[in-house]
C-alpha cells in the first residue's frame, strides 16, 4: 500500500496556471492562463513557480514577480492567494512550505496577490505591506534603551504560561494572510498579536495603555477594515495565531480608552 502510494506520488503533473499579471502599480492588470508540465509532488509551490519562470523566460517571456526569501516559512515575505486561499490549501504553512503533493495532475490553479486596499500591488504577485511596519512604528516596542545596564534578566520571574502565551503571539511573521483572508481586510489579528505579546509580559505592561491606543489608531489610519469576528484570519494564519489575542486586545483597548 505504501509502495503504491509512493509510486503514485512520483508521477509528474501537468497543470493549468491562472496568474495575475500586472506591470506596475498603475497598470490595471489581468489574469493570464499558462500551461506547465513535469511538476513533481516533492516540489514546493515556489519551486514550481521557479520552474515555470525558467520555462517562460526560455520562451522569451518575462517571469512572474513574486515575493519570497527564507523559504522556511519564517520570514513572512512570501504571500500568494492560491485557489481562493491565503497561502493555499494546506493549513499552518506559508506558500513556500506548501508542496505540490497537495495538488493533482490536470488541476487548474489560480494564483493572485494578497488583495487589500492597504496592500497596493507593486508588480504581478508582489504587494506593498509597509502599512504593517507603520503600525509597528506607532507602538510595537518597549521603550528601553540599549545600555547593556538593564536589570539582570532573572530579576523578574515571569509565569511560564504567560511567557508561553506571549511567545505564541510573538510568532506572527507579518505576512498579511489575515488581512488578505478577511472580507473586511481587517488587520486585527496582526495588531492583536503584538499588543498581546507585550501585554502578557511585566516588561510590556508599563506602556500598555499608550501602545494599544496608538497602534489601533495607526491601523485605522492605514485603511484596514473592522473586525466582525468571522474567524477566517485564525484559520488561514500560517502560524496559528489565536483569536484569543483579538479578545485580549479588545479588553486592553477598552480599559485604555477609559483611562485615556
Amino acid at each position: 500500500m505504501t509502495f503504491d502510494l509512493k509510486t503514485f506520488k512520483f508521477k509528474k503533473m501537468k497543470l493549468t496556471l491562472k496568474i495575475w499579471r500586472q506591470k506596475n502599480a498603475q497598470d490595471k492588470g489581468a489574469m493570464v492562463d499558462y500551461q506547465i508540465d513535469g511538476i513533481e509532488p516533492d516540489m514546493s509551490f515556489l519551486e514550481m513557480l521557479d520552474v515555470f519562470n525558467q520555462d517562460l523566460m526560455g520562451k522569451g517571456g518575462e517571469p512572474v514577480a513574486f515575493d519570497h526569501d527564507c523559504r522556511e516559512g519564517i520570514c513572512g515575505m512570501c504571500s500568494l492567494y492560491i485557489n481562493g486561499e491565503a497561502h493555499g490549501p494546506d493549513r499552518k504553512v506559508t506558500t513556500c512550505q506548501l508542496h505540490m503533493r497537495m495538488f493533482n495532475d490536470g488541476d487548474t490553479i489560480t494564483i493572485e496577490p494578497f488583495r487589500a486596499g492597504a496592500f497596493p500591488v507593486v508588480k504581478d504577485l508582489v504587494v506593498d505591506r509597509s502599512a504593517f511596519d507603520r503600525i509597528q512604528h506607532a507602538g510595537g516596542f518597549i521603550s528601553v534603551n540599549t545600555s547593556g545596564n538593564t536589570i539582570d534578566a532573572n530579576t523578574i520571574p515571569v509565569n511560564k504560561q504567560d511567557a508561553d502565551d506571549a511567545f505564541d503571539a510573538a510568532t506572527c511573521i507579518g505576512c498579511g494572510a489575515c488581512v488578505a483572508t478577511c472580507k473586511n481586510s481587517s488587520a486585527m489579528l496582526f495588531v492583536a498579536a503584538k499588543v498581546s505579546q507585550y501585554a502578557l509580559l511585566p516588561q510590556g505592561r508599563i506602556e500598555a495603555t499608550d501602545r494599544v491606543l496608538n497602534m489601533v489608531h495607526q491601523m485605522d489610519a492605514e485603511g484596514f477594515g473592522n473586525c466582525t469576528n468571522t474567524g477566517a484570519c485564525e484559520v488561514e494564519c500560517p502560524k496559528g495565531i489565536s483569536l484569543e489575542n483579538i479578545a485580549r486586545m479588545n479588553r486592553e483597548y477598552m480599559s485604555a480608552s477609559m483611562k485615556g
Binding site: V51, D69, R71, E72, G73, G76, H137, N149
Partner: protein, 666 residues
C-alpha cells in the same frame, strides 16, 4: 600595507574596559550632526541601527527585503549563548571565550572573542527588557539548553524560533527610532557601490528595487551588516536573496577579504530531494540535545533501506551504528558542526547512507521520547510500564521543545518524525570568513565598518552553535556604538556630506553601466543557470572536503564560467522598475568573483582546520590536521583587478591565554 589589528594592550580581561575608558566620545548635541549608513537589518545591522539612533546619530538603514523584519537572522532556530551560569554548571566568561577559540580551531583573534564573551550576558538582559519571550521554567526563570562543542548549558532559546524573536526585538527597537524620525528606513533598496571621498567611506550608491532608480546616499560612516556569502554554493540554508554584493563591493574598493575558505557546513539539514531544489532547510542543532544520529551498521541493511525494502524502525539496536557516540564518547552527538558533518560524509561515502541518493543519515528521537515519557509518568504517578502512555507523554515533551521544527520537517518530507527517524545531511549554512576588520570592527577602508556575519572576526575556522546570534547582537548593540564614536569624534564640525561630488558621480556611473550592460546583453541563458553551475563547482570541489587538484580545477572553471556569464546571460524586462532577474544578475556577478577567491584561499591554506578540510592533511583516523607553525594567521586578501591577482596579507594570530592543542572531542 601592514595590517594593524589595533588590539589594546593589557591583560585580556581588562582590554575592553580599558579601551572604553580611553576612547574619544561625541557629545549628544554633536551626534545630531553625524549621519551613519547601515546596510542590512538583521541582528547586527538592526541592533546597530537602533542603538546608534538611541545615542542620537542620524541613521539611514537599507535592506533589500520589503521590511527590516525579514532579514535572514529570522531563520536562526536553536538559541543564543551567554555566560550567565544560571545553571550553576561551571560556566564563566573565560569558559565561553575558551570554548569559542577552541571551537574555531584556534584561528580567531583572542581579544575579539573575549570581548564577545564579556558582553554576552548584557545581551540576555537587554533582550528580556525589550520583551523577547525566551523559554522559561515553571518557577518563572529563564531556561537553558546545550549546544555542540561545550560541556555546559548556556544557550537561551525561544522554542526553535530564537532568531525570529531576537530579530523582532531588534526590529522593535528600530521601530521606536523610526517613529521618532532618528532612523530613515530604505526598504527594497540594494547597495551597489561604496563611495570613498578623500580616502574615507562617505556614502553608497543604491538601487530602489521598486522604481529602478539609482540613488546617492551620503554619511560620515558606512556600516556593512549584510550577512554571509553561503549562497555562492547556490544551494544553502541562506535565504534566496542573501548575497555578498555589499561586502564584495567594499572589497573591490579596498577592504581586505579575510579567510573566504572558512565555511560552515551544518550537519543537520533536510537532504536534497531533486534537481528543482532552490534552497535547503536546516534542522536546528538543538535537536542533537535529544536526537541520536545513526546509520545501519551493516551495508546490506543500508542498501535495503535505500531500496525501500526495510524501514529504520525495523533495525534492532545492535545493528545500528551511532557513529558520533562511537567515535567521540565525551561529546557524543554534541560534537561541533564541522566534526559532525565530516563524520556523516564519511559514513555516506562508505556506503551507509539511507535515502534514495545515499546521502542521508538518521536523527532519531525514539530514545528521548522514552526517557521523557518515563519521567513524566513518574511525575504524574502513571504506569511507567504502559508503552502507549510513555510514548504519548514523551511525544508531548518533545513537541513542546521542538514542535515547529518537527512540523516543518513533516511538511517538507511528508513523513512523521515522531514515529520514524528524521533523515538529515550536511548543507552550507554560515560563512566564518568575511571582510577583515580590526578590533574596532573597521575594515581597511577608514570609515567603513563591517559587523555580524559579514566580518571575519570571532569564529575562526568553525563557528559553535548559538554563537552567530550572540556575535550579531554583540557587534550591533554593544561594540560598534563605542568604536564608531571614537572614529566619528573628529568629524563633529564637518556638516552634511554632499552627494554632488565627482566621487559620487563616478560611483553612480559605474553602477549604471553595469546595469545597462546586463539589460542589453541579449544572451540566451538565465541568471539561475549560471548560479547553479557555480554552486555545483563549489560543492564538488570547494565543499566539505578539498584537495589541491580539485581546487585548481575550480579556479579555472569559475573564471571560465564568469566569462561565459557576461557573454551569455539574459536579463529580461526593464531596469526602470521592479525586476527580480536584474537583482539576481548583479548578485551572481559578485558570487562569480568571490567563488574564485574562495578557492584560491582554500588552495593556499595547506592544512585542515575547522570547516576547511584538505584531504591531504588528515590523521590516520580521518581527523583534521592543523599546521600552527605555518598557518596560525588570518589570510586577508587585497583586491587587484581580478580574483586571481589578489594579494595575500597575513595577520599573525597570537595566543597568550589559550594553549594551542589538537582539538579533541573524544
Amino acid at each position: 600595507m601592514a595590517l594593524d589589528s589595533k588590539i589594546p594592550n593589557g591583560p585580556i580581561s581588562d582590554k575592553w574596559t580599558d579601551y572604553k575608558d580611553h576612547i574619544n566620545l561625541v557629545n549628544p548635541a554633536n551626534k545630531r550632526n553625524l549621519d551613519v549608513i547601515i546596510v542590512g537589518t538583521g541582528l547586527a545591522g538592526g541592533s546597530a541601527a537602533a542603538t546608534l539612533a538611541e545615542l542620537g546619530y542620524n541613521v539611514k538603514a537599507f535592506c533589500f527585503q520589503d521590511s527590516p523584519r525579514r532579514a535572514h537572522s529570522i531563520a536562526a532556530q536553536g538559541g543564543i549563548n551567554a555566560a550567565k551560569n544560571y545553571q550553576g554548571d561551571g560556566d564563566s566568561v573565560f569558559r565561553l571565550f575558551y570554548d569559542t577559540v577552541k571551537g574555531g580551531d584556534y584561528r580567531s583573534r583572542e581579544a575579539n572573542v573575549h570581548r564577545l564573551a564579556e558582553v554576552s550576558t548584557n545581551i540576555i538582559d537587554q533582550c528580556v527588557a525589550q520583551g523577547v519571550p525566551f523559554a522559561r521554567e515553571y518557577g518563572g526563570l529563564l531556561d537553558n539548553r546545550s549546544f555542540g562543542g561545550t560541556l555546559v548549558s548556556r544557550t537561551f532559546y525561544a522554542k526553535g524560533q530564537t532568531g525570529q524573536q531576537l530579530l523582532l526585538g531588534a526590529y522593535s527597537a528600530m521601530n521606536r527610532q523610526i517613529g521618532r524620525g532618528k532612523i530613515t528606513m530604505h526598504s527594497r533598496h540594494e547597495m551597489l557601490d561604496l563611495v570613498i571621498v578623500d580616502g574615507k567611506a562617505r556614502g553608497i550608491i543604491a538601487r530602489n528595487l521598486v522604481t529602478g532608480e539609482i540613488e546617492r546616499h551620503s554619511a560620515h560612516a558606512v556600516v556593512i551588516a549584510s550577512g554571509g556569502y553561503g549562497n555562492v554554493f547556490f544551494l544553502s540554508t541562506n535565504a534566496m536573496g542573501s548575497n555578498a554584493t555589499a561586502a564584495w563591493k567594499i572589497h573591490k574598493k579596498g577592504a581586505f577579504f579575510a579567510n573566504p575558505c572558512y565555511t560552515q557546513i551544518h550537519p543537520t539539514c533536510i537532504p536534497v530531494s531533486g534537481d528543482h531544489q532552490a534552497k535547503l532547510t536546516l534542522m536546528s542543532e538543538s535537536l542533537r540535545n535529544d536526537g541520536r544520529i545513526w546509520v545501519p551498521a551493516k551495508l546490506e541493511d543500508a542498501k535495503a533501506i535505500r531500496e525501500g525494502k526495510l524501514k529504520p524502525t525495523q533495525i534492532v539496536e545492535a545493528d545500528r551504528d551511532y557513529y558520533l557516540e562511537r567515535r567521540y564518547p565525551a561529546f557524543g552527538n554534541l560534537v561541533p558542526r564541522d566534526v559532525a558533518s565530516r563524520a556523516s560524509k564519511e559514513r555516506c561515502d562508505a556506503g551507509f547512507g539511507v535515502n534514495k541518493t545515499g546521502e542521508a543519515v538518521y536523527l532519531d528521537f525514539a530514545a528521548a521520547i522514552q526517557r521523557y515519557g518515563k519521567e513524566q509518568a513518574h511525575i504524574k504517578g502513571l504506569d511507567g510500564n504502559d508503552a502507549e502512555v510513555i510514548v504519548k507523554l514523551g511525544t508531548d515533551v518533545v513537541a513542546n521543545k521542538y514542535g515547529n521544527l518537527f512540523q516543518m520537517y513533516e511538511k517538507i518530507v511528508d513523513e512523521n518524525p515522531y514515529a520514524t527517524p528524521m533523515m538529515i545531511y550536511p548543507a552550507v549554512h554560515y560563512t566564518m570568513g568575511g571582510t577583515w576588520v580590526d578590533y574596532n570592527l573597521q575594515t581597511t577602508i577608514p570609515g567603513c565598518f563591517s559587523i555580524g556575519e559579514s566580518n571575519f572576526s570571532d569564529h575562526g575556522a568553525n563557528r559553535l552553535g548559538a554563537s552567530a546570534l550572540m556575535q550579531g547582537l554583540a557587534d550591533g548593540y554593544f561594540v560598534l556604538p563605542y568604536t564608531i564614536g571614537d572614529y566619528l569624534s573628529p568629524d563633529i564640525k564637518m556638516g552634511p556630506i554632499s552627494t554632488d561630488s565627482p566621487e559620487f558621480a563616478a560611483a553612480e556611473k559605474g553602477v549604471k553601466e553595469q546595469i545597462e550592460k546586463f539589460m542589453n546583453n541579449n544572451g540566451t541563458q538565465s541568471v539561475d543557470h549560471f548560479h547553479r553551475r557555480l554552486g555545483k563547482i563549489m560543492w564538488d570541489k570547494v565543499g566539505m572536503a578539498r584537495n589541491a587538484k580539485g581546487l585548481n580545477e575550480a579556479i579555472t572553471e569559475i573564471a571560465a564560467l564568469r566569462e561565459e556569464f557576461y557573454k551569455d546571460v539574459r536579463v529580461p524586462g526593464t531596469d526602470k522598475g521592479f525586476n527580480q532577474e536584474l537583482e539576481k544578475a548583479t548578485r551572481v556577478a559578485d558570487f562569480l568573483e568571490l567563488g574564485e577567491l574562495f578557492a584560491k584561499d582554500a588552495l593556499h591554506r595547506n592544512e585542515s582546520c575547522g570547516g576547511h578540510f584538505r584531504e591531504e592533511y588528515q590523521s590516520a583516523d580521518g581527523e583534521a590536521q592543523r599546521d600552527d607553525e605555518n598557518f596560525a594567521y588570518v589570510a586577508a586578501w587585497e583586491y587587484k583587478g581580478k580574483p586571481s591577482d589578489a594579494v595575500l596579507h597575513k595577520e599573525d594570530l597570537i595566543f597568550d591565554n589559550v594553549k594551542l592543542v589538537t582539538r579533541s572531542y573524544k
